[in-house]
């Protein structure tokens, strides 16, 4: 009997806590929507930029010419050897000294995109190396140029193998947008910090923002599984 009633009280107590938590965050929920939208925008643009940087860098690094290899190696060395936060500050606070004044959004996209590009480059390079040499040779032997062979024969095969690692990288980029709170982009982290400063409820709101991030990364992972399945058909 006593245990049963204890259970009942603890249940109502927990319910009350959840209920109270929800009542409090409900009022702030509208603030999270635009912040999440900013995260999505920055993420999508950064990922696109990182794919461009990554592809160019991977092709340069696998080329037989030193002129192309050297800058690619420098890029990889610099980006992967310095903190992302430093790179963000370099773009946002550093470039204005040379007259390049970027708004926080643009600076953030550039920093994340260029940073991600170094990791994407290594993924694409791995993909390129996984394609048997004969694939390129047979296309060249039929008269295709380097670019025709890349575009029509090699890269379509690379896309298939790099879908999982490239999605992980996209998730990393999404999570890295939180660092852009430091350059006044009103994304999820900065918004949460501001709310926490006025409500003094860090646990509730950081849990909430975690759930929002989780929802977004989960959608990405599901998209990857769908893309992987789509490309797995036929061969």
């Amino acid at each position: 009997m006593t245990t049963a009633s204890a259970d009942a009280t603890s249940y109502s107590g927990m319910y009350g806590a959840v209920d109270g938590w929800w009542n409090q965050i409900e009022a702030y929920l509208p603030l999270f929507l635009p912040a999440a939208w900013i995260v999505i925008q920055v993420t999508v643009l950064s990922i696109l930029l990182s794919w461009i940087c990554g592809l160019v860098c991977a092709l340069a690094k696998t080329s037989p010419y030193r002129v192309f290899q050297a800058p690619a190696e420098f890029y990889l060395w610099f980006v992967r050897g310095t903190p992302l936060l430093t790179q963000i500050f370099l773009v946002y606070f550093g470039l204005p000294q040379f007259g390049v004044r970027l708004d926080p959004f643009t600076a953030g996209v550039i920093a994340l995109g260029v940073n991600g590009g170094a990791y994407v480059a290594e993924i694409i390079r791995g993909g390129l190396m996984s394609i048997p040499k004969g694939q390129r040779e047979s296309s060249m032997a039929l008269g295709m140029s380097y670019w025709q062979s890349m575009r029509r024969i090699v890269l379509p095969q690379v896309v298939r193998v790099i879908i999982p690692p490239i999605t992980n990288d996209a998730a990393t980029t999404l999570k890295n947008t939180s660092l852009l709170s430091t350059i006044t982009i009103m994304e999820l982290m900065l918004q949460t910090q501001i709310i926490v400063n006025s409500t003094f409820q860090p646990f509730e709101f950081y849990i909430l923002v975690s759930l929002i991030y989780l929802a977004m990364t989960t959608v990405l992972m599901l998209a990857m599984r769908w893309a992987e399945k789509k490309h797995a058909i036929a061969y």
Partner: protein, 268 residues
């Protein structure tokens, strides 16, 4: 050089190699190979592995860039320096040369992400700008001629090795090449699948295709090729009509090679 007298004949050779050399670093694989190939000729190139016969073939369409010598294809000198960047260099001349020389590889090298039909129509469309409809009609004729028309929408992985290699041959033929190179085209096949590929090659030979065939199939060389070239240590050791060379080799090395190859065939 023994092939000097060919030049006196009225028809120009389709391919002339003059003192062709190729080194990989310090290793000289081809030490000056001279060879004339006339239109309609089928030349078997035999030799032990590592003798340079595959390298010779790969030099002809510049998958390997020769380090010395001269090449004349279809009356035009091939500018070797232009291709010195190797596999990655392109340029119109290189592309045009390769478009006229078909190559069949040991590992087939069909493109797995494309269907059989797409494999065959790809280069006529992208390289020669043939309209898709025309390329498709031609490809279907070619596939029909090897009995694989019903496989046109399959991906290569669904085909047997012999079928894949025959599609690879047809893929090269779709470019209407003036010369076909076969680099050990049957070496990767299960024994029971070798026949179908060899008979397709024999058919091409009968139809008048000019072919250079690197092979271990001595029987095939004897029956199908006009001329056999025995390559040893980067040089042509012996060359002549296939019946003669393969039955009565003059060179001791050729004889020993043939003994070994035929001996292996008996054990198999």
């Amino acid at each position: 050089m023994a092939d000097g007298d060919h030049r006196s004949t009225s028809d120009q050779p389709i391919l002339q190699l003059k003192g062709l050399r190729k080194s990989f670093g310090d290793l000289e694989v081809l030490k000056g190979v001279s060879l004339d190939v006339h239109e309609g000729e089928v030349i078997a190139i035999v030799g032990v592995s590592g003798s340079g016969k595959s390298t010779l073939l790969r030099c002809v369409n510049l998958l390997e860039v020769p380090t010395g010598g001269e090449m004349i294809f279809d009356g035009k000198s091939v500018p070797l320096r232009q291709a010195s960047g190797g596999l990655f260099t392109s340029g119109r001349g290189l592309s045009a040369l390769r478009a006229e020389i078909g190559m069949v590889f040991q590992q087939f090298n069909l493109w797995p992400h494309k269907t059989v039909l797409e494999n065959v129509i790809e280069s006529p469309i992208t390289v020669k700008g043939v309209p898709r409809k025309e390329a498709t009609a031609q490809a279907e004729d070619l596939l029909d001629s090897i009995g694989l028309l019903e496989k046109r929408n399959e991906h290569p992985a669904r085909l047997s090795g012999g079928q894949q290699q025959r599609v690879a041959i047809v893929r090269a033929l779709a470019m209407r090449p003036k010369l076909m190179l076969f680099d050990e085209a049957t070496s990767a096949l299960d024994p029971e699948l070798v026949g179908e590929v060899l008979s397709l090659m024999a058919r091409l030979a009968r139809e008048g295709m000019t072919m250079m065939v690197v092979t271990h199939e001595i029987q095939f060389a004897r029956q199908v090729s006009n001329r056999t070239v025995f390559i040893d240590q980067g040089l042509i050791e012996e060359e002549g009509p296939s019946q003669e060379i393969l039955s009565n080799p003059k060179s001791e090395r050729t004889r020993r090679f043939l003994d070994r190859v035929l001996h292996t065939e008996i054990i198999e």
